[in-house]
């Protein structure tokens, strides 16, 4: 064994060396993380999460944490179907709803059934998987697009069914039967109970969902590294090649569908028990879009990614409910976006300064010209609210001008994506100001609509800017 000759150091560059060293340091941290076994990493996260209800006394925050876990479970299941197997399943929420309604029917006074959880949940999970196979069957020979439209229609059909199945006359039966409670849903659903132990509190449900989460993550992790998981990935990359290699493509699609449906069904049972009731509106298309946004933001195909996506989106949407924190999120997002994309810093300083000056000037001018029309108060108040009160024009009657400004904002943003160079830099300031105007005057007052608009816009923007999401693989093909 010969020792390598000492590095002569010819053609070395100080700057390059420094960059390489920095990169190596980052890589070493990554390696350290990678050396930790997966179970260890999961354990760390779960241990940190398990401490949450102990540290935090507010039941509201624990409730948000439970919702986040439920969303994370849903996102994991959808990731299996979309991210791994590459099937566009738009009926995913219907399986979630099926699980929730089944649990509610088997453990409430609707039919005076009160099954033990240990019996009902496995049955529901199996039934959800079976339903998934049934829905996947008609489109098994067809292309992904047909699957998408069929499953989307299935989601709609499910909502129609449960909102109207409250006065059905079964053949051979006298009088109408109330199956699902119609639009009023089913209330007074039993808690999850094993023997004499029942989960009563939000904290209890937090630990229950955490346990289910760990089990699902572990199962999915081993599934992903199994023969089936590899087969799904090859199916996603190139279905034709997969078929040529002798893979049972149709069967693989159906199993992916069934697994996704089973996870959704399982999550549905937790949701029904947690909410102590189920309503048709819980399972509408906005939920579907939200889960898709989580999967896409985190990066379809990456388990860590979709869980992070679920946490981010659910927490942000939760914060948007109250005006003052919502305002902080808005300005923080604008600042972060500028910091990330604006280079060099000279230009960033110019744009920021220009925007602030533009706003102050516009505010001064408009309040001077029309003092009666600009007597709006910042919703929610707070320090930032008072600060922006001197910058953003707050209208006394914001509805119509707010709507017009919203339309103009959409147009300008679309226009911004088409121009480059100095014009773009010049236009960014006024656009931010217009966005702030729309935000303060119109969106803050309508958090429920604003949330949905943001989710929709996020999907479109992500697909255009970074389709792989934060941690996703570069390319996901849909068969």
């Amino acid at each position: 064994v010969t020792t390598p000759p000492p590095d002569p150091g010819i053609g070395r560059d100080e700057w390059v060396d420094r960059e390489v060293e920095l990169r190596d340091k980052a890589a070493r941290v990554e390696q350290l993380l990678a050396r930790l076994p997966v179970a260890g990493r999961l354990g760390l996260v779960v241990a940190a999460a398990a401490l949450l209800p102990v540290v935090i006394s507010s039941d509201y925050i624990v409730r948000v944490a439970v919702n986040t876990l439920i969303y994370a479970l849903l996102a994991l299941g959808l990731n299996l179907v979309v991210g791994w197997a590459g099937l566009l399943d738009l009926g995913y929420v219907a399986f979630y709803g099926f699980g929730a309604y089944s649990y509610a029917l088997l453990s409430s006074n609707q039919f005076h059934l009160h099954w033990p959880t240990a019996a009902s949940v496995p049955l529901i999970v199996a039934a959800s998987a079976l339903l998934g196979i049934l829905i996947g069957l008609p489109s098994r020979r067809l292309l992904g697009d047909y699957l998408a439209i069929l499953t989307l229609f299935f989601a709609q059909a499910f909502v129609t069914l449960v909102s109207n199945a409250n006065r059905i006359t079964p053949p051979g039966h006298r009088g109408a039967v109330d199956f699902t409670g119609g639009p009023n849903g089913i209330a007074d659903v039993d808690n999850v109970h094993l023997g004499s132990h029942a989960v009563h509190t939000v904290r209890g449900y937090f630990y229950l969902s955490l346990i289910v989460f760990v089990i699902v993550v572990a199962a999915l992790y081993s599934l992903n590294n199994s023969r089936t998981g590899r087969a799904w990935r090859s199916l996603r990359e190139d279905p034709l090649a997969a078929q040529l290699m002798g893979m049972p493509v149709n069967w693989l699609k159906l199993t992916a569908f069934a697994f996704g449906a089973a996870i959704a069904g399982l999550t549905g049972t937790i949701f029904a028990a947690l909410q102590v009731g189920v309503f048709p509106a819980n399972f509408d298309i906005s939920l579907l879009i939200t889960i898709y946004a989580m999967v896409i933001l985190g990066g379809a195909g990456s388990m860590t990614g979709v869980v992070l996506g679920a946490i981010t989106i659910n927490v942000v949407l939760e914060i948007l409910r109250t005006p003052d924190p919502a305002r902080m999120i808005f300005y923080a997002f604008v600042a972060a976006a500028l910091l990330t994309w604006m280079r060099p810093y000279r230009r960033l300083a110019l744009v920021l300064g220009g925007t602030i000056a533009f706003g102050l000037l516009a505010h001064l001018l408009v309040t001077w010209l029309a003092p009666a029309a600009t007597r709006g108060e910042p919703l929610g108040g707070g320090f930032l609210g008072h600060l922006t009160n001197h910058w953003v024009i707050l209208l006394t009657d914001p509805t119509t001008p707010g709507n017009i400004a919203y339309g103009a904002l959409l147009l300008i943003v679309a226009f911004l994506t088409q121009i480059k160079g100095i014009w773009r830099t010049l236009l960014i300031g006024p656009t931010i100001y217009l966005a702030a105007f729309v935000w303060e005057n119109r969106l803050v007052a309508n958090p429920s609509v604003a949330r949905l608009i943001i989710v929709g816009a996020l999907l479109v923007a992500l697909m255009n800017a970074r389709p792989q999401g934060l941690l996703g693989t570069a390319r996901i093909e849909v068969a």
């Binding site: 590459g86 439209i149 229609f153 129609t160 109207n164 709507n403 919203y406 949905l452 255009n464």
Partner: protein, 312 residues
């Protein structure tokens, strides 16, 4: 057998079918060219209904129209067609064109996001309440009292107008696709985009034109929806879009006569289900869903579709 009921249901179904056919045409043409499910198409239909409503109100509404009724209706239809056509071009330009070479899931998810964005923007701007066209009051109700009234069947003038307008538009579209240069170019692009590009066809322009035409038809359908069913609301596009797409699939996606046939089929099926099945009206969506499943099992290529719909 109650012939009168059957005839009446057929009339209702044909009207509904014409609307679905107009929506299905847009889906089918876009799918034929881009192989893309344009989920936002149903929401373009909804925007059409609202544009019609606002033009209607601006021209005096049902009670005090400032122009003759014929001109009023015409203006509404044209405004909705132009407005929605431009919206369709914008959707393509900003939502789909940047993603034309992306993995196939990207434009689908972008379409989903766009649909959601448009629907909720409408909710923000127009509110959650229903807007009523109230066409019964228009022209002293003559649009509904006139028409064909026999012992067998009643067809109001409004329905006749809607059916005639839809039929005229469909014939016009077929002629447009068949005989004009742009129509021929669009068929060439649908057949083989790369080859068409090499032959000097401006593919971007053809696609934009198809989006304009398809969305304009959806806008017209939106106004017709308001004229017949009176109310327009922000979520009306979702279910109508689903059924329009089902119509396109049933007729054979990519085929223009197929889309018309599929639309009429769905409209009639829904109408008969309404009349003859127990609780047909509450479960209309379900019946159409079952038709879709049955069609996929029996003849996945649709009534007039070609055998091979595999993407290039």
């Amino acid at each position: 057998m109650d012939w009168s009921k059957l005839a009446q249901l057929t009339v209702a179904g044909t009207t509904l079918g014409c609307m679905y056919a107009l929506i299905a045409l847009g889906y089918s043409m876009v799918y034929g060219i881009l192989k893309l499910l344009n989920f936002a198409h149903g929401d373009v239909f909804m925007i059409g209904g609202f544009i019609g409503y606002f033009v209607y109100s601006a021209l005096g509404g049902p009670l005090t129209p400032s122009v003759p009724v014929a001109i009023l209706l015409m203006t509404m239809l044209v405004a909705a067609a132009v407005g929605c056509g431009l919206l369709g071009v914008a959707i393509e330009r900003f939502g789909y064109r940047p993603l034309r070479n992306a993995p196939r899931i990207a434009p689908l998810i972008s379409a989903l996001g766009l649909s959601f964005l448009i629907q909720n923007s409408a909710l923000l701007a127009f509110g959650a309440s229903f807007r009523s066209y109230n066409t019964f009051e228009l022209d002293n109700g003559r649009l509904f009292s006139r028409g064909i009234h026999t012992s067998l069947v009643n067809v109001s003038l409004m329905r006749l107008l809607v059916i005639a307008a839809a039929a005229l538009l469909m014939l016009g579209l077929m002629a447009y696709i068949r005989y004009t240069a742009v129509g021929k170019a669009s068929r060439a692009v649908a057949y083989d985009r790369e080859a068409a590009e090499m032959m000097g066809i401006d593919v971007d322009r053809v696609i934009a034109t198809i989006f304009f035409v398809g969305s304009a038809l959806a806008g017209v359908a939106g106004v017709m929806f308001g004229l017949i069913f009176q109310n327009v609301y922000h979520y009306m596009g979702f279910v109508a879009g689903l059924k329009g797409f089902t119509a396109a699939v049933i007729g054979g996606i990519g085929s223009i006569p197929g889309a018309v046939l599929g639309g009429l089929f769905i409209g009639l099926a829904e109408s008969y289900a309404d009349g003859y099945l127990p609780q047909g009206s509450t479960f209309q969506d379900l019946w159409v869903f079952f038709i879709l499943i049955a069609m996929m099992l029996l003849k996945p290529t649709g009534l007039l579709g070609k055998a091979d719909i595999r993407r290039a």
